[in-house]
Amino acid sequence: MPEEFEPIAPGHSACAGCGSTQIVRWVLKEAGPNTIVVNATGCLEVFSTTYPYTMWRVPWLHVAFENAAAAASGVEAALKRMGKKAHIIAFGGDGGTADIGFQALSGMVERGHDVLYVMYDNEAYMNTGIQRSSSTPLLAWTTTSPAGKVIPGKQQPKKPVAWIIAAHGAPYVATASIAYLTDLRKKVRTALSIKGPKFIQAIQPCTTGWRFDPSLTVKLARLAVETCYFPLWEMRNGDLRTFRLTYIPKEKKPVEEFLRPQRRFRHVLQNPDLLERIQKWVDENWERMLKLHEAAVNQKL
């Protein structure tokens, strides 16, 4: 058997069925061993590096919650100075990326550092016990957006963080799902072939926070795409003419199929009006992207 590069070791303390290691493992397999990882505070950082143990087989740095992009900027500058070349990949959850770490990320992208930033998007602050983030979807239950009698879950839609990064003019921005492994690997490959700041937002079903059976992680990552809740796309240089949906389901499934296994949406599934609100959000978002895709493909932009 030829030795295959395994960037991470087992024995870490992620929840059984956690999707974050799947993202990390396949991003790093694609990048290869000549890679340095910078990790924001979050589940991934905590379960993978409980001293004196580390899951990582590549050089790895964690500084704080909100500054992975800034720390990665420093790593990049230092490597440049020291005449060394390696891929620099930052991992952050939605909190460390879209919320508290957003300023540092925006700065890193604006300055043009040669870093691939991968956001593992589990749609809430899972490390601290499922609090809402700006990436938490409309009406989802979290401990700080409870499904109350008056207010049924989070009242705001999911923040379109990848779009915002694309609007910076970042050389490459994409979304990904572990259920579409070939697509994910190709996007990582593309990203790493481009110099400058790259951003990939990967949906990461969280068994604990989304409250589903741990065996369903990949299935939910697939349903997120097939219901068009989390479309897969890519774009270069913030140029809408380069926008492409990288997967268009032959048949768009109702969002209910994605929501049903998740107890964070239990109150939604019991209330047709709420379900309709989510479906409407999904439909509008998807329509917009589909139109953009078609216009871009047909060079009508």
């Binding site: 890679t35 050089p59 790593v75 500058a77 700065g107």
Partner: protein
Amino acid sequence: MVVMTLEGNEAAAWGARLARPDVIAAYPITPSTHIPERLSEWIADGIMDSEMILTESEHSALSACVGASATGARVFTATASQGLALMHEILHIASGMRLPIVMAIGNRALSAPINIWCDHQDMMSQRDTGWMQFFAESNQEALDLILIAYKVAEDRRVLLPAMVGLDAFTLTHTFEQVDVPEQEEVDRYLPKYRPVHAFLDPERPITQGPLGTPQHYMEFKYAQYEAMNRAKGVIVEAMEEFGRAFGREYAPLVPFSPGGEIVLVTMGSMSGTARVFVRGARQEGESVSHVKVVAFRPFYHSKLAELLAGAKVVAVVERAFSYGSVGPLAQDVAYAMHRYGIKAKLANFIVGLGGRDVTLRDFSEVLETSKRILKGEEDPGVFWLNVAKEEVLKAEEVIWNA
């Protein structure tokens, strides 16, 4: 050695330039903005060969410094006041990871109200972040202490970050003569940084910044505590070597006109004014001495006690204070006196906050008050000088009576 007339910020920038940092990450803030400006100019003109990261905040500036230092580079940054406060979280992380980052601070007051002028509250607020802290009295010291700080920070017996404070405007924007050493001399004093514990190298993959559980956390903190204690010896060595290399003498504590019954203790730029005062007062027959504190962290308690031997009143004059307590410098002086049996009375004078000028008249008042304390006519305590106390009380009373 070339004598130049430089403002304090330029002197600090020269210190950084001569240290040849691989990476500089900075965010501008008054009064230290001229430091990254000057460094940017030198880099833009090809005079200096460093990577400059102009971040979107001080928090990110220090974070980038941590990233670069963890990669194995020598790094530099500069900030002040609110910027340093914004870095607070990362200050702990830099020292916890034992990264020898050096930073210049234009010592400036903290908001509110917003104030761009000098005091030491910014660095005092970061006292316990695990950074070595030095205070410059002059622009020359600002340059020299940056080189000394690197020497100590990168010493394998220490491996701790260091900040060098230079007083806002009083130094940062004041021009005076500075001996700028030759690059070759500095290269001999401060060889290239070779990381031994912290690097990011795919050939030797290590993990930096893990989770430390109760099983291990305390050991890491003890290690930092001991490293800071060890730094006391290393600082003296580095200062002595600096003296041999450049002909300028440095010490963590600098006594002046010793043997007086009343000893003034100060830090930073007011130390020169204090010496001028002491010299004059001595001529008028007053029994007064002065000690300048250059190294505040680590603090040289036993050495200070030696310098205070025979004193009857120790007057700590400082540009910082502690709400509901005595000033931070006075706290350490008090511990030194208690620990090493100095029986003198301790008085704490708060002066010069938010850029209020520290004058010879202030020191006269310090002396007069100290003499009353010596004679038992006044209780020692915390004295705020040159402040309109009645006006403050009047304003408060308006609220109480509303």
